[in-house]
Point group: C2
């Protein structure tokens, strides 16, 4: 008899289901999963098919980690901080409050040992992960009323993503952990007083500006939010080395394209929002400083009782100190000069 | 007779030569070509082999474009601004003075129509290109003497990369177009008065600090320097669609990893340089402003006589205006707050 054709081993047929943590209506944060799936399909002549599903289609946004861990789905494209209820260590896959900006996050993950540390933790969760999207520094959310000081934050029901809520609690906020698709009705009905999601483009698309006039910045709890391709370890191990390589490269493409898409779409959305009456407001310095101190305190508390958290935290924060030193020099001065030209109408 | 096995068409043996525009001693700017080659090899089970060569090994740094165009080599991993002598339009593949920072460059290329416009131009040069590395905002170079004002720049023999030299000429500098590997001996001998290359890590490695004490910032002519994989069009067209997809994704990986590597290595090198006596100096505001005006003037002059340049320029500059508006909000305020904490010793 003839042996099975060698071709079947080189580019085998593989079908995976990828559940996004976000609604299909967003070409940005959901779109990155599609960019990834398309790149994998292209690199394998369509033999490795990744089917993408919006949050709730096959798995809810907050069930992603369990579904991947148990092999219900092969992978999720999501913000790992949705799963800090399982273990706070999940926060670092996305980024933590007052943490690394987008470029520093990539530096730490790709070349600073960050991804190895994350995957040491994810291996215990029967997963492996790769960065596959970033939002950059997000906006600080939509408020029905102006927030002028720390006092105004007390008692506020605020929808806030993942780990930021834990910091907010320390200054008296009552955090609400709703997935993206559920925010608008809650804000409209007044079940919550304020909500943050991502930035101008996504937020406008979900209509938050229609139900809250004040738009704050910066989103200090999401300075460089990373999405991960979280992959079931058995599914990963069943791939050929070539397919594993393709997943790594295609994740990097999605990581860049998602950031790029936000940076192209956000400026236009920002101008439209401002033209339609949205009021931009910076967080007051006392709020920023109280939250920074609360964050530092929280990291120390968790580190004292969670060795996985501590190990990743120490590496992440060591680089934060280096990164913000280096970026002060050419990067910051270059940007500042160009921003001043922008304000002077010279660009 | 038996048909040729189908496998030969799925993952055919391909060998390409890739000439880097940089010396092999630099794991950063040369290393990115290796990251790319390794990712392609991994994704194809080693069937698509890309051999990487340092500048001058098979092709000189300044001959890269011609060698790719003529098919002497299949591809180069280089700064396209080395080839502005052939056509100034080549500048945009790398980035232009007072142009887009690293993240904006990616935004414009991946999602702002930039790469399509670049490749419309490169097609006329018998090439196709993909971003495959970035340095971020570079430092502004090493000077034997302090430069306190615009007047001090006049008559200065300054090694400066590509297009920046043309701007510098307008303020009286005598630009020198040496490739990276030739800078040190020229600076040591005093053939040149000053030289810029990249940033702390590369510059320290090439030893410039030993022959010039003053280190200026920012490198306003290189705010987000991109390296391209410049690929001969016939070589590209001979690839299977899957291999083309792999080249695109692997280029994206190299693009991110090179930036990450710089952001990890530069802070340490910067501290070492400062500890060993290097004097950090900002460019004076009058120099920055005179150069900005000279750049704007130069772009208008070239646009008036070169339609390819104008088309890409207009798209690039339209996004510059949008990008520096958007980045002023969350991104800048987030970074600024963290930098202030860094200075206060709180990180």
């Amino acid at each position: 008899t003839l042996a099975a054709p060698a071709i079947a081993q080189e580019t085998p047929k593989v079908t995976w289901r990828c559940s996004s943590g976000f609604p299909k209506s967003l070409p940005t944060i959901f779109g990155a999963a599609e960019v990834f799936a398309e790149a994998v399909a292209e690199a394998t002549d369509g033999n490795f098919e990744i089917q993408t599903f919006g949050a709730g289609e096959i798995v809810g946004a907050l069930e992603g980690a369990d579904a991947v861990k148990n092999g219900t789905i092969e992978m999720a494209h999501t913000a790992s901080y949705y799963f800090t209820g399982i273990d706070p260590t999940y926060a670092f896959g996305t980024g933590v409050p007052f943490g690394l900006n987008q470029r520093m996050t990539n530096a730490w993950m790709y070349e600073g040992g960050g991804l190895e540390l994350l995957n040491k933790f994810y291996a215990k969760q029967n997963m492996i992960s790769f960065p596959a999207g970033n939002t950059g520094a997000q906006m600080g959310g939509w408020f029905r009323k102006e927030i002028n000081s720390l006092e105004d934050m007390k008692g506020l029901k605020f929808r806030i993503g993942g780990f930021g809520g834990r910091i907010m609690e320390k200054i008296g906020v009552v955090p609400q952990g709703l997935p993206g698709g559920d925010i608008y009705p809650a804000l409209e009905k007044g079940t919550i007083d304020a909500a943050e999601f991502v930035g101008p483009y996504d937020d406008q698309k979900l209509g938050f500006n229609k139900v809250a006039p004040y738009y704050y910045y910066p989103g200090w709890w999401e300075g460089g939010v990373t999405l991960l391709n979280m992959i079931n370890m058995d599914a990963w191990n069943s791939l050929t080395p070539a397919y594993q390589g393709i997943v790594k490269s295609a994740s990097a493409l999605a990581n860049s394209v998602m950031m790029a898409r936000y940076d192209i779409l956000n400026p236009t959305a920002l101008k439209e929002l401002a033209a339609a009456g949205t009021q931009l407001r910076p967080y007051s310095q006392d709020i920023m400083e109280a939250c920074f101190d609360a964050a530092t305190e929280t990291y120390a508390e968790i580190s004292a009782e969670n060795a996985d958290f501590k190990e990743i935290h120490d590496s992440y924060m060591a680089y934060r100190k280096e990164g913000y030193l280096w970026f002060q020099l050419s990067e910051y001065n270059f940007d500042t000069f160009l921003m001043l030209q922008q304000r002077a109408g010279k660009l």
